[in-house]
């Protein structure tokens, strides 16, 4: 975007904290799209039909001939699926303000590369070479964006946050509501212990290094709550300097990408059950998208690698409960409390603010509402089925297609992370902010491990059993 374009778009938007938020925020569009898909899946199921025709995914293969046969037999299904994603995502992003003529070619590229990565992950030798689709998508994306380079206008289609939120709403439909009720309080307790400790460590280390309070708070929230989203939310709540948010963004991105690879590797070395590893990743990763990549890649090892107990779903479910229910939903409260502290305890400024409790709602990650509704809805409409009937009828016809579309949404997300992470464009974080954040990372990872693998181990290990 040129500076002239930036200036022309630099007007202040009218308040979106009212009804306008329903169509001006990605969170709400994730709800409309996710719940829309779940509702259509249910209506088809109720009429004896299924969404599985359009929820096509590459089949397992052992030689290229098998893969080609699969594509030639299902080409129409893939075209229909691409058309479906294009229609709903183009409409949503157009309302948000993106240009369809930029979004459509970008999404076409995203879909084609995602299809290749998805297919590679279905190779029967993929695990042998550690070709986990989330990690491959991330690496391929980073190689393209940092070595080859793509025009910036293509970023219109690489919407990491949007795709992960759609995926999480769809994930709700595959997660029993009773599990949220049962596991939610433990997730909140564990996440709160780690979040508060991590924030305080980063904040006070930063202060000891002579950093400004507002920068320390921005960094602390980035490490403790929900990564970049938390950092920018707290930067706004406390009135941080313009350069503070980019510093936090850089440190969170660097550590989040390191952790995508480190946490599954260490979990594998220790042979952690998937539920325990998912909880640890949910406690100690810094962003939803990064954590899902790590949790899903580790979960995929279940049943493939000897010594790893549990299921793929357990890793993703425990991660989501910990990260989304345990950490993300509290961002508004963090913002409100820190706004009060900044206003009443820190140095006064010409620009003032009267902390408003309404921001607890304004900043609430609304997609969580869609996640909970999707879970409650599917649990409710399938309550009459016995476990045997559920596994025989509901899972393959209703739940599995939604899960397959969820997997697509997550692959779009993981690839978009790589395609939008251009290391040379990141602001210089500086040594002191990086040190302060890193101190929090060490405490966060160790404390998260102790709580997940020892204190609450049986809870996470037995998730969904």
């Amino acid at each position: 975007m040129s500076s002239a374009d930036m200036d022309s778009r630099a007007i202040a938007r009218p308040g979106t904290s009212g009804w306008g938020e329903l169509w001006r925020k990605e969170d709400w569009w994730a709800i409309w799209i996710g719940l829309g898909i779940v509702l259509v899946a249910y209506l088809l199921f109720a009429q004896g039909d299924s969404l599985k025709w359009i929820a096509v995914t590459p089949a397992k293969w052992s030689n290229i001939g098998q893969l080609m046969d699969h594509f030639s037999a299902n080409i129409l299904r893939y075209v229909a699926q691409l058309g479906m994603w294009l229609a709903i995502f183009t409409a949503a992003t157009a309302v948000l303000g993106h240009r369809p003529r930029q979004f459509i070619p970008a999404f076409l590229l995203l879909y084609v590369i995602s299809l290749l990565i998805f297919s590679l992950g279905q190779w029967d030798q993929a695990n042998k070479y550690n070709l986990e689709p989330p990690l491959v998508a991330l690496l391929v994306g980073m190689l393209i964006s940092n070595l080859i380079g793509l025009p910036r206008w293509l970023d219109a289609g690489f919407r990491v946050e949007f795709y992960v939120k759609v995926g999480i709403v769809l994930l709700g439909a595959t997660l029993p509501f009773t599990l949220i009720v049962w596991a939610g309080p433990i997730a909140i307790l564990q996440a709160s212990i780690v979040s508060i400790t991590t924030f305080l460590v980063i904040f006070w280390t930063g202060r000891a290094l002579g950093l400004d309070r507002r920068l320390c708070a921005t960094l602390g929230a980035g490490g403790a709550v929900c990564g970049v989203s938390a950092a920018i939310a707290i930067a706004g709540a406390v009135g941080a300097k313009k350069e503070d948010a980019p510093i936090a963004i850089t440190t969170v991105i660097l550590w989040a990408i390191v952790m995508i690879f480190v946490l599954p590797l260490v979990s594998r070395a220790l042979g952690l059950p998937t539920g325990v590893a998912g909880a640890w990743i949910g406690t100690s990763e810094f962003a939803d998208a990064a954590g899902l990549a790590a949790a899903q890649s580790y979960g995929n090892l279940a049943g493939q690698v000897p010594g790893i107990a549990g299921t793929s779903d357990q890793a993703v479910f425990s991660f989501t409960l910990m990260k989304v229910v345990g950490r993300d939903v509290w961002i508004g409260i963090w913002a409100f409390v820190l706004a009060i502290v900044a206003t009443t305890r820190w140095e006064a400024r010409e620009v003032g603010q009267r902390p408003n409790a309404a921001q607890i709602w304004w900043r609430f990650p609304k997609f969580v509402i869609g996640f909970v509704i999707a879970s409650a809805f599917i649990t409710w409409v399938t309550a009459e089925y016995s476990l045997a009937d559920y596994n025989k009828t509901v899972t393959p016809v209703l739940v599995a297609p939604v899960k397959d579309l969820r997997t697509w949404a997550f692959i779009f997300c993981f690839l978009s992370i790589g395609l939008t992470t251009r290391f040379r464009e990141l602001a210089s974080a500086g040594r002191k902010p990086f040190l302060a954040f890193s101190a929090g990372v060490v405490i966060n990872v160790l404390l998260g491990f102790v709580l997940s693998a020892f204190v609450f181990a049986s809870h996470w290990e037995n998730l969904t059993r």
Partner: protein, 86 residues
């Protein structure tokens, strides 16, 4: 009547006017994503968590939209309305 009252509030009690209506306040999501490079890797300018926060180009601060400031300057929208009223 509504436009007159907005103008009156802007002129007589600038401390009470939200930064959101200031010409120096920029909170368009696309602008924020452009200004904060790397934001879209793990977040978004369109996320609920960001609320209506924006950059103050006068103070170089990232602020909530309901902040107030004695140096508030109404956006051109208000000036156009003043001319049309006259």
């Amino acid at each position: 009547m509504g436009l007159f009252s907005v103008k009156a509030r802007a002129n007589e009690a600038p401390r009470l006017v939200r930064c959101e209506t200031c010409k120096y306040f920029r909170n368009d999501p696309a602008y924020i994503e452009e200004a904060f490079r790397g934001l879209t890797s793990f977040s978004s300018g369109y996320a609920s968590a960001r609320a209506d926060d924006g950059l103050c180009t006068q103070h170089d601060l990232y602020l909530a939209a309901d902040c107030t400031c004695p140096r508030h300057k109404p956006k051109s929208f208000f000036r156009v309305e003043e001319r049309s009223i006259r």
